[in-house]
Symmetry: C2
Subunit: 348 residues, 2 copies
């Protein structure tokens, strides 16, 4: 298929640092080309890809994320370039905020939009108002269930990873791993309680963000002893070895995360995940097969004692089947086809 | 004419506090209706106007100004409502950021956009890229001269005030007035130097904004003595009496302000303005007639000694002729007509 991939104008692809959406676009575009599709990537300047890259703006805008001047400029310029292209695109895959969705009824190319953000009162009202203009892909069934009435969810497709880039280890160390931004919703303090009850050492990794210093000092720091509870700060690519060596990844979250990428990364390394049943977690973790879905810290500690029931090889193979970029790209091809078909159909 | 007035979605009209654009829209819509036009005002919820008011969003968003989700939602919803209206609008007058301009080629109604912000590298690039889609009104000839090549500036029209709401005083007190945000560009420290050299008392009014505390402590505070230099903080409607009683308003600015509303307000009160030749100042101040345009603090002090050459009544009448809402609305009617004509013309 001939696909216009509309990335945000904020950060180049692949992202030099943080950039979750840009990482998804980078992997997906590369795999779709590998599979024989024709991709034109509309993205921030500095983008490198095997796809044809067009950058309507002069520079990326990492310090002005969400600002309408850049989003409107990027999207309106992209629409104009798309319309000058022959033969026309079969579909536009939109990863860029809200402007393309809001104006998708003013272009002829059918548009499918990945729901990169959670549904809030404001974003739900937005999608409800423009519900007829485009199709969406949800990152999880949980997210799809939150969608406002009438929103055309053509598929549930999680964010991809390249499983081969994650080291598989069958023999684990004795530590449990918690990774994320250290705040109440993500629950490092609950991981500490569970690890303590399970009498297992815990490694905490991730940044203390501005505004979270008091939470960290009160709930986390007193427990750090460098042995039973170690805090190693923010991690980059070394997180892959951390995952691979861990007995399990603990995910005692208390917020409805639409998609929990770290869970897929841990499983890719053959590491079970023990998660609370919030957001996408019960879908990503196959209970009893690639980890455990548990209700609280106490049940999490009990699950730690049952980790020998989980086969690391099965965690890896499940990640390959479900989260690797190849099945994700294949699922997107079906979503593109379906979006294009619905647009052609007289009954919408 | 039948006019769709597109206000921003951030703040209701009239604005409860700060809201320069909203104030312009409030005055202009009321006057255009007074003059027999039919106005539909697309604006934030809570808006009150004699115009028909339509509010696509659920609430104002004063804490998310410039955010694309709200601007795209507001503009796309407005376009849809406009297209359902019969008979059609003759013109849409856009005061709302950038999204309407960027997508103006996708509606049939011709659009005229008031340039409420200054031209920067980024906004100039924006307008240059979408130059053919709409007409613009510049707030000053200075601003019009900064416009990127090809931008269709149909008119130069300043922001309106209701001159009758400003008290006229012929007999002035002995103080000079400086009003604005206390920062380097606005120049309270230069006003202090000029007043000192002219041996005249000075009243400073305006807020010290976050980040400007050091500037204030270093450049302004040491000079405040409660007699020769008084600082009275931020002012509301009492600014009108402050203007009216002042011998002159000092505007020792060092930035190219596209339109200096306080100068028009001072003149409406019969108060001369002594300004540096930046941005719109040489247009707004008729040198030797409604004040003086001077190059530096020294020349500003000399101009203070010549204030008896300026007739307060002439300041007032000049404000009535040029800045009152009636001549401004009349100029907009011509701009609307011209915009509609150009849209009808086959040669654009």
């Amino acid at each position: 298929m001939k696909i216009a991939m509309l990335a945000p104008p904020w950060i180049e692809i692949p992202p030099p640092g943080y950039g979750g959406i840009e990482q998804v676009v980078a992997l997906l575009a590369a795999e779709l080309i590998e599979r024989g599709n024709e991709i034109t990537l509309f993205a921030a300047p500095g983008t490198r890809s095997r796809a044809e890259v067009l950058s309507p703006l002069e520079s990326p805008h990492p310090d002005a994320i969400q600002f309408a001047v850049y989003e409107a400029d990027h999207v309106a310029s992209t629409f104009a370039r798309m319309e000058q292209t022959e033969p026309p695109f079969d579909v536009v895959h939109d990863h860029c905020g809200f402007t393309a969705f809001a104006f998708a009824d003013r272009i002829d190319t059918p548009l499918v939009h990945t729901l990169h953000g959670p549904f809030t009162d404001d974003t739900s009202a937005f999608y409800a108002r423009h519900v007829h203009k485009a199709s969406v892909v949800a990152l999880s069934r949980y997210q799809a269930d939150q969608a406002p009435d009438g929103l055309d969810v053509v598929a549930v497709i999680g964010n991809p990873i390249v499983v081969a880039d994650f080291p598989f280890r069958d023999e684990k160390n004795d530590y449990l791993l918690w990774i994320g931004r250290l705040n109440d919703e993500k629950g490092p303090q609950r991981a500490i309680a569970a690890a303590h009850e399970a009498d297992a050492p815990l490694v905490l990794a991730g940044p203390v963000q501005p505004g979270q210093e008091q939470f960290f000092e009160r709930e986390v720091e007193p427990h750090i002893d460098g042995e039973r509870v170690r805090y190693i700060g923010e991690v980059g690519d070394e997180k892959r070895d951390l995952y691979a060596g861990a007995r399990a990844l603990l995910m005692p979250i208390r917020w409805p995360e639409p998609f929990g990428l770290v869970m897929t990364e841990a499983m890719a390394c053959g590491t079970p995940v023990i998660a609370f049943p919030e957001g996408s977690a019960p879908e990503l973790v196959l209970d009893g097969e690639t980890g455990f879905v548990v209700d609280d810290e106490h049940a999490m500690a009990e699950a730690v004692r049952r980790l020998d029931e989980i086969d690391p090889a099965r965690c890896r193979s499940s990640a390959e089947e479900r989260f690797d970029v190849a099945p994700v790209a294949e699922a997107y091809e079906r979503a593109y086809e379906q979006t294009a078909q619905r647009a052609r159909s007289p009954i919408r």
